[in-house]
């Protein structure tokens, strides 16, 4: 990228010099300027090329390769050049069972149903995050947004689950939610009936157990982000509203919550992207469950593309996942980010 630009620009001043010879400008100055230009482009190339090279080789190229693999039937063992080109068959298989009536029925139960099941789990986690985590984190942040003894300790400790790896969180809760584990015993001791066969094995409870663990791990981050936003809201504004007789809830609803809008939108974006890509924790928890009862799109992709060596199909799923992330990111940039930036421009 840069090297191309460098060479292109390098030629520019040469062309200028021949026509500049007609002008009275001193050749010395022209030569110096040309040398300056050349040095500048060399420096730019030197500074940016390691990053651009790494990025092109290990990020862009693999993503393009994934798009290419997705059009082939390939097991990853034999050479890719011997793989069979099948067009968009892998996508068709994932989305509706493929176009061949002879195999459609079998493919539907082998590929399409688990694919949509996994997609549904991602969607459920997204919706539940917005409907449960967001209000809960916001409410806790609003309550904690004042001086009280132990404030800084609370802040640091509720951040802890975020820096613990998903692997550790997964293993830890797997032990706690074990059919003989402490969570099961606790639920029994208060007279309720834990799910038959264990929390994770239950078709009904499996995904909600995973959502509970996700919430445990990421709620603290949301609270801390909101608290950081709230610390920027003018204290005088709130005091003035209180003196005018506004209730606590009115102050939160009319001042604090609208003013941390940008922070809330950042969290929504982080949460969306994280929910789409959720992998580590779910993989640690029995790779999405024995029946895939809480598999996500990422674990589904690994199950087929890596464990079952159906690399073409796994790549097609990866590309679908990429397109969904892309849509979310573009939507975020076009709507939210532009609005927030426009507002800050206005204020300046």
């Amino acid at each position: 990228m840069t090297t191309m630009e460098t060479s292109g620009k390098g030629r520019g001043p040469v062309g200028d010099a021949s026509s500049a010879g007609l002008r009275p400008a001193s050749p010395d100055i022209m030569a110096a300027r040309r040398q300056d230009q050349r040095r500048k482009w060399t420096e730019i190339a030197l500074f940016t090329s390691p990053a651009l090279l790494l990025f092109a080789l290990f990020v862009v190229f693999p993503v393009i390769s994934a798009a290419r693999y997705s059009l082939y039937k390939w097991n990853g063992v034999k050479a890719f050049s011997e793989a069979e080109f099948i067009g968009f068959e892998n996508y068709a298989r994932a989305l509706w069972g493929g176009n061949d009536p002879a195999t459609q029925g079998a493919f539907r139960s082998a590929y399409t149903e688990p694919f949509w099941q996994a997609m549904g789990h991602n969607l459920l986690i997204i919706v539940a995050s917005m409907a449960i985590q967001l209000p809960l984190a916001l409410l806790i942040a609003l309550v904690l947004n004042r001086k009280f003894p132990g404030r800084s300790i609370v802040r640091v400790i509720i951040f802890a689950p975020y820096v613990i790896s998903e692997v550790i969180a997964g293993v830890m809760w797997f032990i706690i939610f074990d059919p003989n584990g402490i969570a099961t015993q606790f639920v029994e001791s208060i007279g309720l009936h834990p799910p038959e066969g264990g929390w994770f094995e239950s078709q009904q409870w499996g995904i909600w157990t995973v959502f509970f663990i996700v919430t445990w791990k990421y709620l603290g981050l949301a609270i801390i982000l909101f608290l950081a936003g709230l610390s920027g809201v003018s204290q005088e504004l709130q005091e003035a509203a209180a003196i005018d007789g506004a209730s606590w809830w009115q102050i939160q609803r009319r001042i604090n919550i609208p003013l941390i809008g940008p922070t809330i939108r950042i969290w929504v974006f982080l949460s969306l992207i994280g929910s789409i890509q959720l992998f580590d924790m779910v993989w640690v928890l029995n790779r999405g469950g024995t029946q895939g009862q809480y598999a996500t799109i990422a674990t589904f992709m690994m199950q087929y593309g890596f464990l079952r060596k159906d690399v073409g199909f796994g790549s097609a799923v990866a590309v679908i996942m990429f397109l969904i992330s892309l849509l979310v990111a573009i939507g975020y940039m076009l709507t939210v980010l532009r609005r927030d930036n426009d507002n800050s421009e206005l204020a300046r």
């Binding site: 630009e5 500048k40 420096e43 730019i44 500074f47 940016t48 390691p50 990053a51 651009l52 790494l54 990025f55 290990f58 990020v59 693999p62 993503v63 390769s65 994934a66 806790i140 309550v143 004042r146 001086k147 802040r155 400790i157 951040f159 802890a160 975020y162 613990i164 790896s165 998903e166 692997v167 550790i168 032990i175 584990g181 606790f186 981050l221 609270i223 982000l225 950081a228 610390s231 504004l237 005091e239 209180a242 005018d244 606590w248 009319r254 941390i260 809008g261 992998f279 580590d280 993989w283 990422a298 890596f306 690399v311 790549s315 990866a318 996942m321 990429f322 992330s325 800050s344 204020a347």
Partner: protein, 301 residues
Amino acid sequence: MTATLNEAPPVTPEGDAPPRVASPRRGRRSDGGILLAIFVGLVAIALTLGPILYLIVGGFRTQENLSTNPTGLPDPWAWQNYVDILTEGTFWQQAFNSLLVALGTTVGVVLFGTMAAYPLARYRFAGRELVYLIFVTGLMFPLTVAVLPLYFMIRNLGLTGSLWGLIVPQIAFALPVTVIIMRPFLRAIPKELEEAAFVDGVTRVGFFWKIVLPLARPAMVTVGVLAFIGSWNAYLLPLLLLTGDASGMTLPLGITQFQGQHSSATTLIMAYTSLSMIPALIFFLMLERRIVDGLTGAVKG
């Protein structure tokens, strides 16, 4: 968070407010608020630390104690699990691998990321915004999408099982965030400083090494911490690449491998998991502020 003040305040400006009088009603309410905040804080701490402590304490139980009395304290306190793990070499080897990979990734990300951000922040050249845009779009390229081709690529290079095969792609994937955080920071370095340096005969490259790098240290720490945590906790890429012997694994992969091997010895797994969690947890919590700054900076751009 200054941007938060930009929306029109929905209440009357404070200038219109009557002179401040200590209202007894308000005083009582905020006392209640403090009690509520303390209560919510205590509940949050209990829910956060409860499972973590249960895990750590569980490492001190015997298997029999865990099944008969999981809620009480261990009786007796059994040190054997922790001693076994710490005297056997695999745990240390994995911790060392994790540290090596995280340090390698961090150094690479901070160095290359700052280098790339420098011309993007302080040079004027055709195509600058395009290069920046390439990095911004990089944020949307998740590792999960690239991981299968990456695996075949590294396998063809003969680097599976090597920590380098892990470090280099991790650097590449952490670069976009780094460039995006570093650019506004480098841009904020005063122009006068640069001009003064040039008058003194310092080249742009010299300016980068002698002035920019020391000045950018806070931002470099922020991106460095994010890169370190990302690498330390990474699971997906090691899962594909470090398939060989357990002593060649990083800790997250080592934990799941250990779990698979000792599936009936739950308390031993608890000890193993605790040991790999505690030092990093303490270290990361000390850097809480930096992590939050980095996360908000990355998304706002």
